[in-house]
């Protein structure tokens, strides 16, 4: 039976109503609903992505300044007591400024949000910062800055500092400590390398007790441990 033009329907044919006009309206209705729905999705996604972008930029700034702070701290190798004190004081002040100017904004961005959702955006900066903070603490007191009492207390409370980030920051610290020890030895400061060695032996001993968490963590740990063991042998 040949189809006539009248029986061909250009729009959707939902089950039920038979008239062409109603079908056309239903389809337009559905179209509007879907469009409106996706408009809300677009807005939600944009808000999330913009927030993530802003956090990433802050994280990059934190990385840069933290690296500069670490570089500055290396000046204590072979330095006089006065110079040493001056360096530690300067870095401590710059650290406070960094936290106020870059970490607080991240904490504001995270207000009302699930912090785990954005963790990766600021994780690199945070790890670099922890490296700087723990380095400063070691040079000031010979102790490992703890996560709960130390790091978390000095950072804004809205900021999630996961154990993972802390551990990786501390692993990177061991690299800096090795560099410090070598620089100090080169300047005939043999006290520093001795203290560094004792600290590192403890640290690496503990790191070895940490079970495998996955590629990121264990690779870095093993690399640092192997690298440091080799350098230890040399010095």
């Amino acid at each position: 039976q040949p189809e006539t033009a009248a029986s061909k329907r250009p729009n959707a044919t939902p089950p039920g109503p038979a008239s062409d006009n109603k079908c056309a309206r239903l389809s337009q209705d559905e179209n509007n609903k879907v469009a409106a729905l996706f408009q809300t999705f677009k807005e939600r996604l944009d808000v999330k992505q913009d927030r993530r972008e802003r956090i990433v930029k802050l994280s990059r700034d934190i990385t840069m300044e933290s690296k500069r702070l670490i570089f500055t701290l290396h000046r204590v190798a072979g330095a006089s007591d006065e110079e040493r004190l001056a360096v530690l004081t300067e870095v401590s002040q710059r650290l406070d400024k960094l936290i106020a100017s870059k970490l607080l904004p991240i904490s504001s961005e995270l207000t009302g949000q699930d912090p785990w959702e954005y963790r990766r955006a600021y994780s690199p900066g945070l790890q670099e910062l922890i490296e700087a903070m723990t380095f400063l603490e070691f040079l000031s007191t010979g102790r490992l800055l703890s996560l709960s009492g130390g790091v978390r207390d000095r950072l804004p409370s809205g900021l999630l500092v996961s154990q993972f980030d802390y551990l990786l920051g501390v692993c990177d610290l061991s690299g800096e400590l090795m560099r410090l020890a070598l620089n100090a030895a080169a300047k005939a400061d043999f006290d520093t390398p001795e203290r560094v060695l004792a600290f590192l032996q403890k640290l690496l001993g503990c790191c070895e007790t940490v079970p495998d968490r996955g590629p990121d963590c264990s690779e870095r740990l093993l690399w640092q441990a192997g690298d440091n063991a080799a350098k230890r042998g040399k010095s």
Binding site: P2, E3, K8, R9, N11, A12, T13, P14, P15, S27, E30, N31, K33, V34, A35, L37, F38, Q39, F41, K42, R44, L45, D46, Q49, G112, Q113, D114, W116, E117, R119, G142, R143, L144, S146, L147, S148, Q163, Y166, L167, E194, R195, A198, F199, K202, L203, C206, C207, T209, V210, P211, R213
Partner: protein, 231 residues
């Protein structure tokens, strides 16, 4: 006194002890979440299997039957989702999210598929969430009820598009040449919606790239049906 002699002067051991304790607890959560997610992935296949029967027989009765079976098959998944919500400590939704998002996407596909078959309508995120026993609103989660992540819902829609492309072809074979037009209208609304979104370079974006191939298939089937006057 040299730090090396006083065993905890550096604070290292105490710190790592704390860390190891918390790590052990965390690993325990990860293991139980993974186990539940694996079970959920299996259960999530059941409603889809029920629905996929219509690729072979899609007269009105068969479709009705498939929908009823799929609805019944959804219940175990819904129950398991509730259990999953309770396995994760409060406020860690996104910490473990990657472990269980795949079955959620499949379940979204199932419920939106049912909605299309019943009424040619796109099931909204809020309605999909409520059918799955999840919370809809994603800002400021909390409590043990999981909320339906927007990106998981969108991923489910993209999975649906591929399923519909396949249905389009099989419907004609199974004697329902009217279905491709319904599929095409629905899919066009969907595509128009997706075009509004800004994507970043991630898995969702890559999946979205496949939508154009699904659309092409759907439109080609409709073309064939029209040109041969099969409707």
């Amino acid at each position: 006194a040299s730090p090396a002699t006083d065993s905890n002067a550096t604070g290292i051991e105490a710190e790592f002890q704390l860390y190891l304790n918390q790590l052990a607890a965390d690993l325990a959560t990860v293991e139980s979440v993974k186990a539940t997610a694996a079970e959920l992935t299996k259960l999530a296949q059941l409603p889809l299997q029920a629905l996929r029967c219509i690729h072979r027989s899609c007269d009105t009765n068969s479709i009705s039957k498939a929908i009823d079976e799929a609805r019944a098959a959804l219940q175990p998944s819904i129950d398991l989702l509730a259990k999953l919500g309770q396995q994760m400590p409060a406020g860690t939704y996104y910490k473990y999210h990657q472990l269980w998002r795949e079955p959620v996407q499949q379940l979204c596909m199932a419920v939106t598929f049912i909605s299309f078959l019943e009424s040619d309508r796109l099931l909204s995120l809020e309605d999909a969430a409520s059918q799955l026993g999840m919370a809809g609103d994603s800002d400021g989660g909390g409590g043990s009820t999981l909320h339906l992540d927007l990106e998981d819902y969108l991923f489910g829609l993209l999975l649906l598009a591929s399923e519909l492309a396949r249905l389009s072809v099989n419907a004609v074979t199974a004697g329902r040449p009217d279905l491709p037009r319904r599929v095409a209208d629905f899919a066009r609304h969907l595509e128009a919606g997706f075009r509004l979104l800004n994507f970043k370079n991630d898995a969702l974006r890559r999946r979205y790239d496949g939508l154009k191939y699904d659309m092409r298939k759907i439109e080609e089937v409709l073309y064939d049906v029209t040109v041969r006057k099969l409707e």
